[in-house]
Amino acid sequence: MADGVSTRGLVGTRAGHGPCLDTARATHLASLEWRGVAGRMTIKGKAYIAGAFEHPTRNAPDKSVAQLHAECAKGALEDAGLTKDDVDGYFCAGDAPGMGPLSLVDYLNLRLRHVDSTETGGSSYLVHVAHAAEAIALGRCSVALITLAGRPRSEGMATGTAPRQGNPAQPDLQFEFPYGPTVVNMYAMCAMRHMYQYGTTSEQLAWIKVAASQHAQHNPNAMLRDVVSVQDVIESPIVASPLHRLDCCVISDGGGALIVVAPEVMQDLHRPRVKIIGAGEAPKGQFGGDVDLTFSGASWSGPRAFAEAGVKPADIRYASIYDSFTITVLMQIEDLGFCTKGEGGRFVADGNLISGVGKLPFNTDGGGLCNNHPANRGGMTKVIEAVRQLRGEAHPAVQVKDCALALAQGTGGVLGSRHGSATLILERE
């Protein structure tokens, strides 16, 4: 940090399981932190999202992972009105087969000035948008391509319910893997603690799925298009208590891609202008055993993004919020400051996330909960739907009127152990 002001000390000084990071205080500190560096460099207004493409497939046994990456790249370039030869920066994460970006750069036959393979799980692609804007601001590239693709569905992966054996050199593995951590039960422990500490109920969490399903009915590509009720969710079988089957996202094949460009490139394109005005990123872990499951990394990445953009949560007209599980959405909504900590259950209830009904329309494509969760990584589709909303290209039934300011929020890795959080704030110019 340029001026030594940092929010990082907040958790380190907190003893035991005291109250969660106060969002107002975090926002204040992030704004101080921001003022320290703002004089030197900002990505605000330095780059635009010119192209976005979501692969229509949800089941791709007949395609390779590399092929899906290429089809997404082609789709996003066509959307932007650019060609493969225009690309001079490439970004990919852990879903890209091969060593970092090298295999895919070769497969796609790109000639580049800049590469970045930052890996923070499903939040990687929001980090990539921010890093692309940084690279563009520094003149390292002017047309950045970001791709994601995978086939967990056709490969029969037990995404959420089987413990994943990792590399023995991973320092936490020997202390965790033998106990059977899965994706679902590690998120479920966050929900259990939230219920204990704040009185959150399964019915309140169910409203998040209900809202996603209300939106998904209008998306012809969505995996789950049937509208569900609170009752449907809480009567679906428990996978890992207290999470039910319908608290979980879908498992799908597919992918997506984004094109981030410099202002001078955007000028010549005939697409609505989606400007990147704020970004924040923050990894969170177990703090050496000082575990606190009541908040996510969004309580750091969010205030940083808002401070850079110079806007408040109340200004946001549409939010894409990573929805691996219902609890993921609830915690991020609190941590981003859309409501106070512990009030998330009441905030999401009664249709408050449904477009045209509630105060905070979210995931109008149906999100990971109903539409698509390609490669088990939902960050890419979060950005894509935010771009659609800002362009006015969402489905008419869910399009937010005069949507000029949107937020996209990603969480990657595992909420209950170690995860990355990334926040983007985007504006229609």
């Binding site: 020997q174 202390f175 106990y179 951590p181 899965t182 422990m189 259990m192 204990y196 050496g288």
Partner: protein
């Protein structure tokens, strides 16, 4: 009811004292001699101050459930949990030998060890 098979933990030079103690039924914690804080999982450098003189300390085995989840979608259902030890650190573990429906956050638990397939026993907890 079938028995849940536990994979053996893979120790390394940094962590082998922890697993050697586990074989004898002792749960070890790492405590920094500089800042005096105990941490988990054990590291060679203190995760709070990067102090590099650490000692091993036997935990009392008493703790309380910070959070838990009963995994129903498994060949044999099991309870994963974070248990906060009397000494301070919170560790990922399992709650065993109990009626899962009776589990509650805040419940006091005590240490037990369960055998793995060909490796050190695993520290787990059961309600008091």
């Amino acid at each position: 009811m079938s028995v849940r098979k536990l994979p053996a933990p893979e120790a390394n030079p940094e962590t082998s004292p922890y697993w050697e103690a586990a074989k004898k039924g002792v749960l070890l914690l790492r405590r920094c001699t500089a800042c005096r804080r105990a941490h988990h999982y054990p590291r060679a450098l203190c995760p709070f101050c990067f102090g590099d003189r650490l000692e091993w300390q036997a935990a009392s085995g008493k703790g309380s459930i910070y959070s838990f989840s009963v995994m129903q979608r498994a060949p044999v259902p099991y309870a994963i949990a974070y248990v906060t030890l009397e000494e301070g650190p919170t560790m990922l573990t399992n709650i065993v030998d109990c009626d899962f429906a009776s589990l509650r956050i805040g419940m006091t638990v005590r240490l037990v060890f369960k055998p793995t397939e060909g490796g050190a026993a695993l520290p787990m907890f059961t309600p008091d």
